[in-house]
C-alpha cells in the first residue's frame, strides 16, 4: 500500500502567528498587536519633559519597542500599551529630559491582562 503523505498543520492563533525570526511590525506602523501587549512588564514608566528636549530623536531611534512617537509640535510621547519600561530612552537622553517614575504613581496606562503574555 503506497504511503500517502497528509500534512499535519499546527493551529496557531492569528494574533500569535509571526513570520520566521519573530519579526512583527511596530504598533506605530501596524496599529494594534493584540497578542503582544507588553505594557504590564513595566515597573517604571518614562516621563518626558518637553522643556528640556532638544529634538535629537535618540529615544525614538533607540526604543526597542518602537513605541516612542514625536508629533509635529515636537512633543515626545510613548505608547504605554507597549512600553516595557526598559529605560533605554532615559539612559540615552543626553539632556536628562526623560525620567523613570514608578508605575503605581499613575492611575491608568496599563492594560490589565487575564493571562500572561
Amino acid at each position: 500500500m503506497p504511503y500517502a503523505y497528509t500534512p499535519k498543520l499546527i493551529h496557531i492563533p492569528p494574533e500569535k502567528d509571526v513570520p520566521f525570526g519573530m519579526i512583527v511590525p511596530a504598533p506605530e506602523v501596524s496599529g494594534e498587536q493584540p497578542g503582544m501587549i507588553t505594557g504590564n512588564w513595566r515597573q517604571k514608566r518614562p516621563v518626558f519633559d518637553p522643556m528640556r528636549c532638544t529634538q535629537c530623536r535618540s529615544c525614538e531611534m533607540l526604543c526597542p519597542d518602537a513605541c516612542i512617537s514625536i508629533d509635529e509640535k515636537g512633543i515626545v510621547d510613548s505608547d504605554m500599551k507597549y512600553c516595557k519600561g526598559c529605560g533605554v530612552c532615559a539612559f540615552e537622553c543626553r539632556e536628562g529630559a526623560i525620567v523613570m517614575v514608578p508605575e503605581l504613581d499613575f492611575e491608568d496606562g496599563v492594560v490589565r491582562l487575564e493571562t500572561v503574555f
Partner: protein, 210 residues
C-alpha cells in the same frame, strides 16, 4: 477541580530580576509546612519559562494535610493565597483570576494599603477576605540577583535571602497555615522573616469563605 484539602499559593514575580525571590517564597513556605508534617508540592510555572527580564511569572505551592493526588497538574487554577513580589503586578495582571471567595492577597510594596486598594481587580471586593502589604526592602539585608539558581545549579545565597525573607514571614502570618518557628528553621535569614511576620499590615475586605 481543586482537591478540597489543598491550600494553593500563587506567587507572581518578575522574570530574571526577581525570579529567585519568587521561587524562594514558594519553596520556603512548602518546606516549612513539611516540617510540620504536611504534604507539599512547590514548582515553577512551566509555560513562563524561559523567563525574560521583567516578565510576569508564576510560582506555585500546594500544602495539604492529606496526601496530594494531583501529581501532574502543573498550575494552581483556584488559588487561596496570592503573593506579589513586586507591586506593579497588581496593576497589569488579573492576579485574582480563579480565586474563590475568601482568598488572601499579599503585596510587597512601600505604599500604604489605602493607595493600593484602587489598583485591585474589579471583582476583588467580593473575592478577597484580607489584603496585606509588606515593605520587604525595608527589612531585607540586601536585595540580590543570583542567576545560578535559575538553571538548577546550587543557590549561593540560601533559601529566603534578600526580599524573600520578609515576604515569607508575612505570608505565613496572614495565611495562618504554618508557624513562625517552622519558617525560622527553613530560611537562611530568620531575623528578616520575623520582621516580616511582625510588620505586615492587614486590611480585612470581608468576603466570606464559601
Amino acid at each position: 477541580m481543586q482537591e478540597p484539602e489543598i491550600l494553593e499559593i500563587n506567587v507572581w514575580t518578575r522574570g530574571v530580576v526577581m525570579d529567585k525571590e519568587g521561587r524562594d517564597v514558594t519553596f520556603a513556605l512548602a518546606r516549612a509546612a513539611q516540617e510540620e508534617g504536611k504534604f507539599v508540592q512547590a514548582f515553577d510555572n512551566y509555560v513562563d519559562q524561559p523567563d525574560r527580564v521583567n516578565v510576569p511569572m508564576r510560582k506555585y505551592a500546594r500544602i495539604s494535610a492529606v496526601e496530594i493526588e494531583d501529581k501532574y497538574v502543573y498550575e494552581n487554577h483556584e488559588p487561596n493565597i496570592v503573593v506579589l513580589v513586586e507591586e506593579s503586578l497588581l496593576k497589569g495582571m488579573n492576579v485574582l483570576r480563579g480565586m474563590r471567595p475568601g482568598g488572601t492577597l499579599i503585596v510587597n510594596s512601600h505604599r500604604p494599603i489605602a493607595d493600593l486598594v484602587k489598583f485591585l481587580p474589579p471583582h476583588a471586593p467580593g473575592t478577597l477576605r484580607s489584603f496585606a502589604v509588606i515593605h520587604a526592602e525595608r527589612f531585607a539585608r540586601r536585595v540580590m540577583a543570583d542567576f545560578l539558581g535559575a538553571e538548577g545549579a546550587s543557590v549561593r545565597g540560601g533559601l529566603g535571602r534578600g526580599i524573600a525573607g520578609p515576604i515569607i514571614g508575612a505570608t505565613a502570618r496572614v495565611g495562618g497555615f504554618v508557624s513562625l518557628d517552622a519558617v525560622r528553621k527553613v530560611v537562611s535569614d530568620p531575623a528578616a522573616a520575623e520582621r516580616g511576620w511582625e510588620s505586615v499590615q492587614i486590611r480585612e475586605l470581608g468576603a466570606a469563605t464559601v
